[in-house]
Subunit: 230 residues, 2 copies
Amino acid sequence: MNRDSLSDEEQATLRRLVSRDRLFDVDEDIVSEGARPQYSAVLLDGFAARYKYMADGTRQITALHVAGDFMDLHAFLLKTMDHGIIALSPCHVGFAEHGALKEVTETQPHLTRLLWLDTLIDGAIHREWIVAMGRRSKRAHLAHLVCELFYRLQAVRKTVDFSFHFPLTQMELADVLGISVVHLNKTLQPLRHDGLLSWVNHTITIHDWPRLTALAQFDPTYLSCTVEPR
Amino acid sequence: MNRDSLSDEEQATLRRLVSRDRLFDVDEDIVSEGARPQYSAVLLDGFAARYKYMADGTRQITALHVAGDFMDLHAFLLKTMDHGIIALSPCHVGFAEHGALKEVTETQPHLTRLLWLDTLIDGAIHREWIVAMGRRSKRAHLAHLVCELFYRLQAVRKTVDFSFHFPLTQMELADVLGISVVHLNKTLQPLRHDGLLSWVNHTITIHDWPRLTALAQFDPTYLSCTVEPR
DNA sequence: CGAATTCTTGATACGATTCAAGTGGAGTGG
DNA sequence: CCACTCCACTTGAATCGTATCAAGAATTCG
């Protein structure tokens, strides 16, 4: 939440909004598909994913969340979860009551716009993923995702130089790209062999940012990282 | 905008919000990529699409809009358009000044939540498209899109029995699904031959709704068509 | 009516899935 | 500490899906 300047007062309000918190284990559901939660979940630390299962048991991950993401602010107005949220690493999650959120929308327009903005950025990321799935090669799609994650993690100070912790398995990453594990692996190899990145020990290190962004045609505009008055 | 009950007063406010309107020809840009508009566009009538071009000239359509859709409410808070919006048919478009929108967020919380909800539904549709692109067969993806459009058009009374006007070319539809025109055509044929639907004269008619929804695994929950208190 | 799109179909080449088998590392219990 | 198991990763081969190229038919538009 560093896309706009917040008064101390507003920051305090945000913190007060999160009235409960809990730790989740890997693979634990943070919110289940079909649920009608009374609170919205903020990811305080860890990696989580939104996903949907198909009738044949395959899964598509529709979003990845990192520390600082308000994961299901959506449920505040959408009421019924049309997808689930799962912990991809041990996760520290905070919860904000929908009643408290409603209170904010009644009394704090500036903060409301900021929360709204947060969901809009989610939407922008979704659109970029659609583009990647439809019109990028699998290699470029993978490169693009790495660029995006690096950018987002850097914003919350979860990077060290050009590397970051990345707890997903290749199977989970395949579910993000919408391809099979086997093909994901074969897509990944050239990126390693060409020296664009390495991925060992649950850590991704980018070795050639210029070539990686060029391959991915990465343009960070959609992440709205510049501060603008709302 | 029929997902919540609106007071007469609020309906009037909404109408007053749209201070200008304009007609657009087919293929005309309603909003251009990279623009920083001072107003948001509502589609009063017609079909429009959000799109993004790749460096190699291919295009991905990330959203389809029908009458009643608030197309780029996003720009109100996102400021810079990371994609363009094009008219796929002659379009009647209304414009709401960002200043007036800000005014609404300052004074009318209930209306604000309704506008926010509108963008959240957009996001839910995006997620469903990601699932369709990643884990559905192309045939199921196409079927799913037809189901979705039928549902959305029915909500704004643009259907007649099981048919609706559909002005897109096959090339444009291919850009929605992220496949080539040739393949779209070959994907379409079985749906016709199996008697699920017909598509002639810019009109799609669904002949077998049960089998079409079954093929698509269509579950309309994500469209949030039920009225809920906000 | 003619010209230009759009749609349709076939052939070929490349991309991606599936099935199958093997490697390697982390954790467990004797 | 070692053998064992489990799981994630890697690789190869066969099969199926999708793109590209090309050409002809149908439709729309001026």
